[in-house]
Symmetry: C2
DNA sequence: AAAACACTAAAGTCTACACAAAATGGAATC
DNA sequence: GATTCCATTTTGTGTAGACTTTAGTGTTTT
């Protein structure tokens, strides 16, 4: 049957279901009709209903279990998606001119805390890179990163004077797992100097650990310049 | 054909595609074979390939355009999903005992900055609620919230002495749009007092604006206690 | 009672096919 | 040379039907 003449699409179903939840017609914790019945109601196939409900479950509105059916989540476990762009893109998106500057790059044995954090073997070798990202002449981000040499042997030959370690890594090694945190920290002397802030100032900070199939690849701490906010809409 | 005997599922296809991207077989920016050809290769239907590629595009690995085809995103525009639980759930998830305390609740005309922020009409009435969320006896979050009376008339009768404004709102009014930001701010005298921190200390801060069909519903500022970090894995 | 078992309802996934919609690239026209 | 228009390709979405997997529920056995 062609869908040009008045059919119900999975998007329509999503909207209707959401509306019913919002209107209170379908109370939290209550069970929805099964797919078959909904298909009949919307005069479409179960496939279409399935897609609608599956996506709503994905978005955190519904909970689905085989045999048990589909129920409305009581506390809509909403989730926010933040896009994590590369610094260059983030700067350019705001109209700024991106500039990168290497501060230091050296091969060292991993410090204790890093060995613990990444579950490294004692005395594994790392490349420690510190660098700055600017938007025009304004400091945008100070990055402090360690790369595990055993996981990324090529890093020994890498030259970080022109390209940032993040961009280099993305081009060079894949990763499978990431742990990402955000917090507020106080600017120590170093961070304050590079971000051009008074010492002790609050700094929005990101911490990122990346693995490839269980192997720790890199640990990065990213200190954002004054006034930075991470925003999303949904 | 039954799928018990060796068929390719959309999950298999996702894995294979990801593996090819990671291995470099399919370079960033390059075009993938079209769905028909992939279906032939995996000996399944186009529907199955479609689902696999659609989900990968959703997850930020691929870009798909009709007629243009499917290509590997050069900078895998990865996105992090943070779940935004209600404070009670967040506290209880860490094993703490949740406790709520109202600080103040009063009806006032919206201040200038809020009128501007939410695009209110001049002198619209709001309910201003300030409250604390504890984990055991440790301050977990100080919340400072305005609720627009015109959008939520019931708020005039609400009693926030036992239930937090957020939980109340979720039960009472639906919302359609949210803008959520995170930043690092310095604790002013009030925030410092409630969170039991020295004044000027960095505070991880969330700001949330909620609309219902274009109508501003509420503005909330959430100050998190010492050591808070927002974490996700992917 | 408690444990093991079978039945069955519901979601999960796949096949096979069809038509819809977008957008690219080239052809026709100005 | 630029613009408009159109055919074609590729993804998007729907139908119809089948088999699979999970997990409640009720029954039987211990």
């Amino acid at each position: 049957m062609p869908q040009s003449t008045e059919t119900t699409s999975y998007k329509d179903i999503k909207k209707t279901v959401l509306a019913r939840i919002r209107s209170g017609e379908w109370q939290p914790d209550s069970l929805l009709p099964n797919e078959q019945d909904l298909a009949a109601e919307f005069s479409c196939t179960r496939t279409t209903v399935n897609r609608a409900l599956r996506e709503l479950a994905d978005e955190g509105y519904l909970e689905r279990r085989r045999k048990a059916g589909t129920r409305v989540l009581s506390a809509p476990q909403r989730q926010a998606r933040f896009s994590i762009p590369m610094v260059r893109d983030e700067v350019e998106a705001t109209g700024g001119t991106y500039r990168y500057a290497l501060v230091s790059a050296e091969t060292t044995v991993a410090p204790d805390w890093l060995t613990a954090r990444l579950a490294l073997r004692p005395d594994q070798s790392t490349v420690h890179v510190r660098c700055m990202h600017f938007s025009g002449n304004t400091p945008f981000q100070y990055e402090d990163r360690w790369i595990v040499v055993d996981s990324v042997p090529q890093v020994a030959q890498a030259d970080f004077s022109a390209i940032g370690p993040n961009e280099w890594l993305i081009q060079t090694v894949p990763f499978t797992n990431v742990e990402l945190s955000f917090l507020a920290s106080r600017a120590d002397a170093t961070v304050a100097r590079f971000l051009d802030l008074p010492e002790g100032e609050p700094v929005f900070t990101g911490e990122r650990i990346t693995w490839l199939e269980g192997q720790p690849v890199t640990y990065a701490k990213m200190y954002f310049g004054a006034g930075y906010r991470m925003t999303t809409q949904f």
